[in-house]
Structures are given as structure tokens and as C-alpha cells.
Symmetry: C2
Subunit: 142 residues, 2 copies
Amino acid sequence: MRHALDAAAAAGRAGEVPVGAVVMRGARVLAVAGNAPRTLHDPTAHAEMLAIRAAAAALGAERLEDCDLYVTLEPCAMCAGAIAHARIRRLFYGASDPKGGGVEHGARVFAQPTCHHRPEVYPAIGEGEAGALLRDFFAARR
Amino acid sequence: MRHALDAAAAAGRAGEVPVGAVVMRGARVLAVAGNAPRTLHDPTAHAEMLAIRAAAAALGAERLEDCDLYVTLEPCAMCAGAIAHARIRRLFYGASDPKGGGVEHGARVFAQPTCHHRPEVYPAIGEGEAGALLRDFFAARR
């Protein structure tokens, strides 16, 4: 989660909402990414999406079986759907997101019968630092 | 929807589940894409995602305001989330997807309070041909 928090801070310095994500396979870091929709002109470029796509490209595989995803914020519905499609084994996330989350809020993607793969979910990992990054970012913009 | 159906058929010939998508702005086709997760080694490479990303890149913008998306199958939760993030104005889709859909089934992404943008939704547009493509594809694999 340290790598994910660092990627989140870097995203914030680039003017993006500070969220970071890492895909690991065992002890190996497959991909690290920060949120970048503005920079990349891509509405799908959330940190989780970029990390999943980079990890799949690195493995040359459509699925990330036996891989774990660390992300500083509760994934939205789009990212939760991507996590299911990628067959991520374990999901660790930091801050909970009542306004936009899709795991424990809103769409609750993994709880739906239409969800074909459910990762093990570990919330509130590093949530203090992850939440502080987000609060400071939005406070500076008010 | 003709372009989307053609892209779906082409995806099927490439061994992908036959789904196609088009992003239009008025009468202008901004992007056409077929489903390609296997070919691209990318679990997020659904037709809608590829078309949205290509259209945003073509416009150099994070959001696709005033744009419409045509897709041959009901979008999943991931794609519905991306449609909301992209601020797509109108969504036209063909076949309904009780097993994996996220618009009228499962996560019902646009019906959630965590959804920050709801397109106008027009289901069952060209559903006969869209559904036949999918049925023939899966029947040939049994």
C-alpha cells in the first residue's frame, strides 16, 4: 500500500484527484499507477484501471489470477467491474467512498448475481493517510 | 447501430464475444470498436470502453458531453460506470443481458445515488441482429 499511497500523492501533485493503485503477484510489483483522467484525456483512466491494464499487458494475459490489487480509495462501479473481469484475487483498499464507491456503497458490484468473480475484500488498509491526501486535495481547491 | 453491429460481427470472427460500439457526436462518428479483451490482453477492453477511450482521445477531452453511445449489448457494470464518467448523453443498446448487464440488471449503475451522471437510455435498438450474433457465436462453441 506504500507504493499506492506514493502514486496517489504524485497524482495529486499533477492536479488529479489523488488516488493510487498497485497490482502485485506474490512479492512482485506488476504495475503502479495514479489516477490520470485529465492528463490522459480518458474518462476511464482511474488508478485501478491503469494498473490492471498495465499488469495484464506485462503478463500478456487477459486475466490477473493470483494477483492482488491495492488502491487508496474504495473502487467505483467501473473499477469494481474491471476487478471482477480481471479475476483479481484480493482487493485491499484505503478510504471508504460513500459518494462514489461501488464496493460497499451504491452499485455494490461484488454482491450482485451478475458478478462472475468476487475478490476477497480488505477495506480500511492505510485509510488514514489515503483519506488525508483526498481531504487536503479538495480543501486546497475550495 | 449499423456500424456497431458490423464491429460486433468482426469481433466474433476474431474469436471475441461479438459486441460492438460506436460513439457519435451529432452525425459524426467519433469512434467504432469491437470487443477485444483476448486480442489485446486487457480485461477492460470491452467494445464500449475502447470506443469511449478512442472518442475522448479524438476530442482531446476527458468528457464526451453531447455524445451518444450505440452498443449491441446491454453494458456491464464496468462499462456503465465508464459511460457515467464520460458524461455520455444518450445510450442506445441492442440485446438485454440478464447474466452480465449492469443497466437494467445487477448493479443497475445509473439507478444508484452514487452515480453522478445518468444518460438517457434506449434499450432494444437492433436487438434481433445483436442477439442473433451472440447466440450463433456461443452455439458454435458448444
